[in-house]
C-alpha cells in the first residue's frame, strides 16, 4: 500500500468537498478499496472515512417504499424485516453476495461503486483500459471466462460484480446524492452505471465530488420475486450469470415481468424487449425461450465466456418456470 493521510468526514457534504481534492478517495466499508490498494491498483494519497456518518437508517417513505441510507451495511439491509417481506429479491441478492464477514462491512453505497473483478484490471503488470486508459485490453484475447457478453466494447469486456445492484435494477431504485455545496440529485439506477464504450475508465454518471447518501426503493411491484445466481461454487463466489425477476402471473398468463441480469455486462442489465415479449403471454416454454432470445439479442462471446449465452437462456427459462408454477 502507498502512504496516505486519513480523516473522518463530518457530514455528507463535507465528504463530497474533501473528495474533490487531488488524490482523495472516500472509504466506507473498505472491503474492495483496501483490497485494490494492497495491489496498488488504487493509490490514493488521502482517505476520507465516511463509515461513521449517520446514513445508516432504513426508513419508510410515504408512498409505501423504503429509503435506505448509503451507510446501511449489506447484512443489515438483507435482514431488515420490511426488505424480507416486501423486497425478497433484494434480500436474497444481498445474501448471495460475498461472505457474512464482508457483508457486515460492506455498505449499500460502496456496493454500487465496487470495481470489476476482471483479472487484468487487478494485475498492474497487464494492460487494462479501465485502469490505464489507452494501454489496451488483455481480456479480449486472454482468459475471459468471467467477462461480458452484452454491452461490451473493443476497449473493455469487464462485468460489474454486484448482486445488490441487479436486484435494485429490477426494483427501479433511485440513487440520491449530495455535492460539496449541499445540492442534492436523484439518479435512476438505470442511468447510474455506464457501458464501457471508448471510455471504460469512466464507470458511473456521478459527477466529481458527488457523494451517494441514500437509495429509494419504490413500492414493490406485484408478483413473485426471485433472485437466482449461477456460480462456480455454492457460496461465496461472484456470479457467472444471475437473474433478478419479478413476475406477476395468474392462471397460466403473465401480466407483467421485470428481468435484470448480473454477470453479463458492465452494468446490471435490464431487458425491456424481453419484458414486453412476456407481457400478456401464456406461461410456458415458447414464451420463455422467446424472452431469452430477446435478452440475448446481440450477445457475443469472446471464447472463454461463450458458455454464458446458453447458460443465460437456461437460467432465465428455469426462473420463469419457477415464477409461474401454480
Amino acid at each position: 500500500m502507498k502512504a496516505f493521510t486519513y480523516q473522518r468526514a463530518e457530514t455528507a457534504a463535507h465528504a463530497a468537498a474533501l473528495a474533490t481534492e487531488p488524490g482523495a478517495k472516500i472509504i466506507a466499508g473498505g472491503t474492495n478499496l483496501l483490497d485494490l490498494m494492497k495491489l496498488q491498483v488504487e493509490t490514493p494519497t488521502q482517505l476520507i472515512d465516511v463509515s461513521r456518518l449517520p446514513l445508516d437508517r432504513i426508513e419508510d417513505t410515504i408512498d409505501g417504499g423504503l429509503r435506505v441510507g448509503a451507510m446501511v451495511r449489506n447484512s443489515d439491509l438483507a435482514a431488515d424485516t420490511r426488505v424480507r417481506q416486501r423486497y425478497g429479491v433484494l434480500s436474497r441478492a444481498l445474501l448471495a453476495g460475498a461472505s457474512a464477514q464482508l457483508r457486515y462491512k460492506a455498505t449499500t453505497g460502496g456496493n454500487l461503486l465496487q470495481r470489476t473483478r476482471c483479472y487484468y484490471f487487478y494485475d498492474i503488470t497487464k494492460p487494462c483500459n479501465k485502469r490505464e486508459p489507452g494501454s489496451g485490453c488483455a481480456a479480449l484475447a486472454g482468459f475471459n471466462r468471467i467477462h461480458a457478453v452484452l454491452g461490451a466494447s473493443d476497449q473493455c469486456i469487464a462485468t460489474h460484480p454486484s448482486d445488490m445492484a441487479v436486484a435494485m435494477r429490477a426494483l427501479d431504485a433511485t440513487v440520491e446524492t449530495v455535492d460539496a455545496a449541499g445540492a442534492t440529485r436523484s439518479i435512476p439506477i438505470a442511468d447510474f452505471h455506464r457501458l464501457p464504450g471508448a471510455t471504460p475508465q469512466v464507470e458511473t454518471n456521478l459527477r466529481a465530488g458527488e457523494f451517494i447518501t441514500a437509495f429509494i426503493l419504490p413500492p414493490p411491484p406485484p408478483g413473485v420475486q426471485i433472485y437466482r445466481k449461477v456460480r462456480d461454487r455454492a457460496s461465496y463466489a461472484f456470479a457467472l450469470v444471475s437473474v433478478a425477476a419479478i413476475v406477476d402471473a395468474a392462471g397460466g398468463r403473465i401480466r407483467q415481468a421485470r428481468l435484470a441480469f448480473g454477470g453479463l455486462a458492465l452494468k446490471p442489465w435490464r431487458s425491456r424487449p424481453a419484458e414486453e415479449s412476456l407481457a400478456g403471454a401464456s406461461a410456458g416454454g415458447p414464451a420463455f425461450e422467446a424472452a431469452a432470445g430477446a435478452v440475448l439479442e446481440g450477445a457475443r462471446g469472446y471464447g472463454g465466456n461463450d458458455f454464458k449465452i446458453p447458460l443465460t437462456r437456461r437460467t432465465l427459462v428455469a426462473v420463469l418456470t419457477q415464477a409461474t408454477r401454480t
Binding site: A3, I27, A78
Partner: protein
C-alpha cells in the same frame, strides 16, 4: 544484510516480550515479513485507541496498518491469523462490537474506540468458550491455522442466527429465526476456508453449541 541495519533484528520473542508496552519507535520498526510494504511517499502516523478484549490499548500507527497487523504486530495478539490478506479466507476473523469482520480488510484507525474481540478474548480464564471446547470435542481442525478465525466467525454467526438473520439458503425469508440445519451452518460459515477440509467436524461443533439443549 547490513549489520548496522537494526530494523529487522527483532526476534519473535523480542516482539512478544515488548509488544504490549511498545512505544512509537518499535511501532515504526519494520519486520522482514513487511519488506514488500516499502513506504511510498510520506508516511502518515495517527493515534488510535482500540478496546481489545476489554482493555483499552492506545497505539501510534502508520495509517496503512490493518486491524489484523495492529493486533498481531503491535499488540502481540497472534491468535488471529493472516491467510490470504485479501478477505478471501477468513483466518483473520475477529468481532467488532460483537459482529464478525475480516480484520485484514480494514484499517485500525477506522476502529478508534470500538470493542474488538479476538480469539484470545473468548475464554473465561481457564474455562474455554463453548465453541473452543466443542471444536476440541469434535476434532474440528487439523493444522489449526484457520481455527481461531473459524471460532470467532462461529461466535458471530450464532449471534446472527439467534437474532433471526436469514441466509441465502433460508427457504422462507419471512420466517424468523431459521432452524440451524447443516446447510444453514455451511452457508453462513462460507467465508471461512479450511485447507485441511475439516468441514464436517466444524459443522458438528457449531451445531452442538448452536442447538438448544
Amino acid at each position: 544484510m547490513d549489520e548496522n541495519d537494526t530494523r529487522v533484528w527483532f526476534t519473535r520473542r523480542t516482539l512478544l516480550e515488548t509488544g504490549a508496552a511498545a512505544g512509537a519507535a518499535l511501532m515504526l520498526t519494520r519486520f522482514p515479513a513487511a519488506a514488500l510494504e516499502e513506504p511510498q511517499g510520506e508516511t502518515a502516523v495517527t493515534g488510535v485507541t482500540l478496546q481489545v478484549n476489554g482493555q483499552a490499548r492506545a497505539l501510534e500507527l502508520d495509517t496503512r496498518t490493518t486491524l489484523l497487523d495492529a493486533l498481531r504486530e503491535h499488540l502481540a495478539l497472534t491468535g488471529s491469523k493472516k491467510g490470504c490478506d485479501h478477505g478471501q479466507c477468513g483466518a483473520c476473523t475477529v468481532l467488532v462490537d460483537g459482529r464478525r469482520i475480516n480484520s485484514c480488510l480494514t484499517l485500525a484507525v477506522m476502529h478508534d474506540g470500538q470493542a474488538i474481540t479476538t480469539i484470545e478474548g473468548l475464554a473465561d480464564g481457564a474455562t474455554l468458550h463453548p465453541l473452543q471446547a466443542a471444536f476440541i470435542a469434535h476434532d474440528g481442525f487439523q493444522c489449526g491455522y484457520c481455527t481461531s478465525g473459524q471460532i470467532c466467525s462461529a461466535a458471530g454467526m450464532l449471534s446472527e442466527s439467534r437474532a433471526g438473520m436469514p441466509s441465502f439458503v433460508t427457504e422462507d425469508l419471512t420466517q424468523s429465526p431459521p432452524e440451524l440445519t447443516d446447510a444453514e451452518i455451511r452457508e453462513r460459515m462460507s467465508g471461512n476456508i479450511c485447507r485441511c477440509a475439516a468441514y464436517p467436524n466444524i459443522v458438528a461443533a457449531i451445531k452442538q453449541v448452536g442447538t438448544p439443549t
